[in-house]
Symmetry: C3
């Protein structure tokens, strides 16, 4: 683990972040830690559904809790959302290094690009003509910003990120290494035995406070924009296809794929490796379990799943035969139930 950048007293913390302190204002905390591995120099938190015994067994110097626990003999900070409080403390103890207003001499910045004086442009960065880099933006080594693309104030792009021409990144974005925004969408017309490539004239438009994980890819729209709304959080290795729209504050876990023209609502949670097929709509507050292939629109909030249960291999062998037999029944014609599966597709 990295050492923290500076220490805080508990008094300073409640002055900055609120909360009700039960304990010594002068006590210093030097780093955050999980409850079970924390030492006296650490501050930890007790989740709302954790057992009180976890608190008593912890060696943490201070603990954030959601209600006072008299008699615990610890320095406690009471806050209605202990984890959120803890995350804020972690940010205070471990601030990002300050952004230096500087352009590395190796960077290739087009004379017709605008780069704010407060932006930090790393080595081997390319910025195309008409591009616009906002205040306090950090562009890591090897990033490439296409012609007429925009990166909003206070955004951070780690190394080797590629933003294609004309794409828009909002304020305070965090984009991890190797991510690609604005690549050509997939598909085209089939004609005389060959596929013709459809030129993609849409953009990717990313709202404010969006995170994009390492090596995640987001395709530009064909004839409209691909849109990520404010507060969207994308993990690593995700594919977002052309014309997709993702609602505000939706989170998508690693390795998921969202096929073309799908519309995902706000505050959705898509599990790792899940796939949403093209042209489907998911309502606000839909949760999709990891590994599920979503084959139909989901119009109501709630949790949806479709995962083959994990078994010992020899058990699976029999179970798979059983599942296949369900589809091999003789003489059943094409009845009502089969139509329902068609719809599901």
């Amino acid at each position: 683990m990295r050492p923290a950048v500076r220490s805080f007293s508990l008094g300073e913390l409640v002055d900055l972040l609120g909360g009700e302190l039960h304990g010594d204002r002068q006590r210093l905390v030097h780093q955050v830690a999980p409850l079970d591995s924390a030492g006296p120099e650490h501050i930890a938190f007790l989740g709302r559904d954790a057992y009180r015994s976890a608190l008593e067994q912890s060696r943490a110097g201070a603990i954030i809790v959601h209600a006072n626990l008299p008699g615990s003999g610890r320095a406690l900070i009471v806050s209605p959302n202990p984890y959120a409080y803890f995350v804020r403390v972690a940010g205070l103890l471990n601030p990002e290094p300050p952004v230096l207003g500087s352009v590395h001499p190796s960077a290739a910045v087009d004379p017709a690009a605008f780069v704010s004086a407060s932006a930090e442009v790393g080595p081997f960065v390319t910025i195309g003509k008409g591009a616009r880099i906002g205040e306090r933006v950090r562009l890591g080594p090897g990033c490439s910003i296409g012609d007429f693309a925009e990166v909003g104030d206070d955004s951070c792009l780690h190394g080797n990120v590629t933003i294609y021409a004309h794409c828009i990144i909002g304020l305070r974005a965090s984009i991890n290494a190797g991510a690609v925004v604005g690549s050509d969408g997939f598909g085209g017309a089939f004609d005389q035995g060959r596929w013709l490539k459809m030129p993609h004239i849409g953009r990717v438009v990313v709202g404010d406070d969006v995170e994009i994980g390492a090596n995640t890819t987001i395709d530009r729209g064909a004839m409209a924009d691909t849109v990520l709304s404010d507060g969207v959080k994308l993990d690593n290795q995700i594919q977002v296809a052309h014309n997709v729209q993702i609602g505000a504050h939706t989170t998508i876990a690693g390795c998921a794929g969202i096929a073309g023209s799908a519309r995902i609502g706000a505050y959705c949670v898509i599990g790792g490796g899940a796939i949403v097929l093209g042209h489907l709509s998911l309502a606000d507050r839909v949760t999709v379990s990891a590994g599920t292939v979503v084959t139909r629109s989901l119009d109501r909030p709630g949790r949806y799943s479709g995962i083959y249960p994990t078994s010992e291999h020899r058990v699976w062998l029999k179970s798979a035969v059983g599942v296949r037999k369900l589809g091999e029944g003789e003489g059943q014609g094409r009845g009502r139930s089969e139509k329902r599966a068609d719809k599901a597709e």
Copy 2:
């Protein structure tokens, strides 16, 4: 959306692309658009299976159709394949910027590499010894072309693409950002508690008119070449393992994985997130649904699926128990049906 580079009159379009014009030759179209959002300045198309009412409700200035629709009161272009015609129009209105014969001064080009005078080599591009870059090739910022690798005429590599040594890219390739061609294949020999790495002496050989999506990876062969035939289209985030062969004009959607030594036929369509296990063969014109794990060779054309149906979570809980029970039956011994599942694996 980006503005189009230039406008065309309907007369110019039919002179260039054929088709039968019903309407004013002088009428100008400024951009392509979908039928439902098009305005008078746009040209749209009516798919073969769309309803005529969609045409009547559209505000498009001109519409491409597969048969004349008298009395529609629109400028129409009749073509047997309206979408393909539309894609060609989109290409005319939105041409790629011309390739400039130039090498950015920052590029690191080995003296023993050959770069055509008409190629455009961007900033921070590395080209190794013995490599060969064809006519009108565009290499985006940060691309790396290994020793003795070749990139065919009129190919475009976007930013941060890595082509390993000795790999061959054909004519008119389009390779999106972050793609990797020629990485070492996976696997080796297990000996005395450790894995020994097998040196990979094969190449990746890519035919003509191939598209490779953003962050897609293609491993070199172990003792033979990994081969992508002419016209293959790969979406983003795909993994193609060592020694795979993919037949002409096959398309593979995002997040799919093709395991080692698999052979995929021509004109196949592999859905997003599908997996084809190693050493399997797929016949020509096989379609695999998104999310399907192909566990056996598929010798006949047709569509194949294997997706757990998506349900509300509480319904899935019961269904998963039912599926597992199919495998937990007592006293069944190892009979005929189990052997069939074995084969399927």
Copy 3:
């Protein structure tokens, strides 16, 4: 295929690698090849479970076998593990080019970084302050090594690899192009309608003899380290989330995803596209079939599977309806079997 760098006589091979030669010590082999495509200039191997007829039909000049086969009329080398022997021969015939102790003039090396004199630093490489690059390390074009990161002796990083600050790579690592080590982990606290980003203060710590595939991503830990033990082999396009621990000599195939805080034992084999959910534990020597979503901890060695069987699409339609019906039974309340599925989740 690439030509071999040099030839060896069979006598030289057994002198260097052991084994029992039956044949002419002077006979030269020029390259390795599979048994069925080998010619007289090649050396091949006969797997332990291959048929002897494969040997007799081969044109290979020499064959590595696990037991002498009198009367075969071939030059044979007998070794208890023919494939491992073959891999070692392949390494002798096809050595990596020697590492040149040199720093490309374009590289951006912080004055406060340590780079061994024997390391080869390619074009457009960035090395941050306090970073440490070991003996004979090779850094390909466009690699970025963060502040205070370390790369151990004899490691090779191909093009465009990003190592974030403070991460540690052990000895003899092989990291393929586009891989990312140390990106921020995913997730944070939800507070007042927004997600707060948790600062990640852990590192990624990679042991010795580890391979990391192209475009694979490994997140740093939140408050502890993400750990890859010695001898771990990761294929391409894999996502390893924050705080994951992977035991020694475990191999993971392409497109797999390991969710946060999962613990994978030693000598495990995880199939392509498999997903291991967060916080689960897998015992040593667990094998997970390709495409399986592991939804519960696996405490015993063995093979586990959970894949929907691949069928013709029309068969699947019926089978999927059957599976769904298993979950839609009426009037069953919440009984014992449902609880079991809950556990499985």
